[in-house]
Symmetry: C2
Subunit: 222 residues, 2 copies
Amino acid sequence: MASAPEHGAAAAHIADRIREAIISGEYAPGTRIRQEELATEAGASRVPVREALRMLAAEGLVTLVANTGAWVSSLSLSECQEIYRVRERVEPLLLRMSAPNLDDAELDRLDGLAAAMAATDDPELFLTLDREFHLSTYGGAETVVLSDLVHRLWNRTHSYRRVYTGLMDDRARETVHDEHRLMVAAMRDRDLDSAESLLTSHIRRTRRQLAGHPELFLATPR
Amino acid sequence: MASAPEHGAAAAHIADRIREAIISGEYAPGTRIRQEELATEAGASRVPVREALRMLAAEGLVTLVANTGAWVSSLSLSECQEIYRVRERVEPLLLRMSAPNLDDAELDRLDGLAAAMAATDDPELFLTLDREFHLSTYGGAETVVLSDLVHRLWNRTHSYRRVYTGLMDDRARETVHDEHRLMVAAMRDRDLDSAESLLTSHIRRTRRQLAGHPELFLATPR
DNA sequence: ATGCTTGAAATTGGATGCAATCGTCCCGTA
DNA sequence: TACGGGACGATTGCATCCAATTTCAAGCAT
């Protein structure tokens, strides 16, 4: 289970727990994180908690202020746009490195995810499936640095994607589904250039739509 | 000096110190890092040292193995190539966001750096000037996420750039200088497309030359 | 000579305790 | 009422101490 009582992994486990809580929405951006609370919850002392917070801070998920405390990082609109601009450049590269290693069974599964996403109107499920879909398209990449980078970029924006997902209208949703299907089709055809450019458009379009919702972001994030 | 006796910053200071030591070459890739050593050196206990190591591990500069220790991260050739591929996609974007904000004085300074680089044959000075040149070209960007990402990518590869720099022949060096001068010229002309594509080629060329020196890398890095 | 076992030293992991800092409430003053 | 200014409580920062684990060398067996 989650609590393997192995020595030397407390900080990592606690970090996993917090990361999961942030991604699941349990901890929203701006939420105060208290060391003691996490420590008792993990049945540990504050020492490994602090190490976990340092890790998460370096990942950008948590913001530390000396002598004051830790908060779940929030983003300004411009920071979020920055992340999307980076994703626009980086994820197509990762897709290119992954796609050749995805077999037919995996492509079928991707189609299934895309279909499930189109079939639901539960925003939370949509969000989960979307993440699962995209990260799965990267699953064939034998990379370390790049896939880690992309995962971190997804993590940092996940909370905002959650809110935005609830605001999408039917037209926007339909466009997303079309793009997903086209991406899988391009990958089936081993047409990496098309897959790349479809993904670029996909991310860029989302970025531009996000720009129309500044109310989702704080002016002065921490 | 380096030791401002402020409360709540010990871990950050120690991390700065280690990061600096890695970049300066004092700590080469693969070097074992002992907590006690750093603690006494910083006049602190091992607790903030461990927090610093967690941060650096999240930055990719240090590799931690539970119950065993910390080492300065080393890269395999393929990991290094990965980083360069990411840089190829990401740095031109950052340059585009920075260039419009660089005034004539700053562009003059960049030309000066390029000239100084061309004039020296001290590899260490070359390395320092090269870093200073490129990071300065990004100095106009009002970004947080992206510039932080680029700095980290530079940091992770700096040790290898050091070794490679010593191996460059005159022709390779001359090419680099030409590219630097052309980049500054393009920025003076406010020709962002040219600046971007020059930078892309610049990084790609270096990546391809690095591929010819697998002996600089470990097969199984940690 | 090589490989395996054992045990002590070295090193890391984590809990506890205390000092330092920050927030907040309360009070006094204008 | 509005505006400082302490004092207290809550929280974080860090040093010290002990436990868990690994490493390494010496000894033993093959």
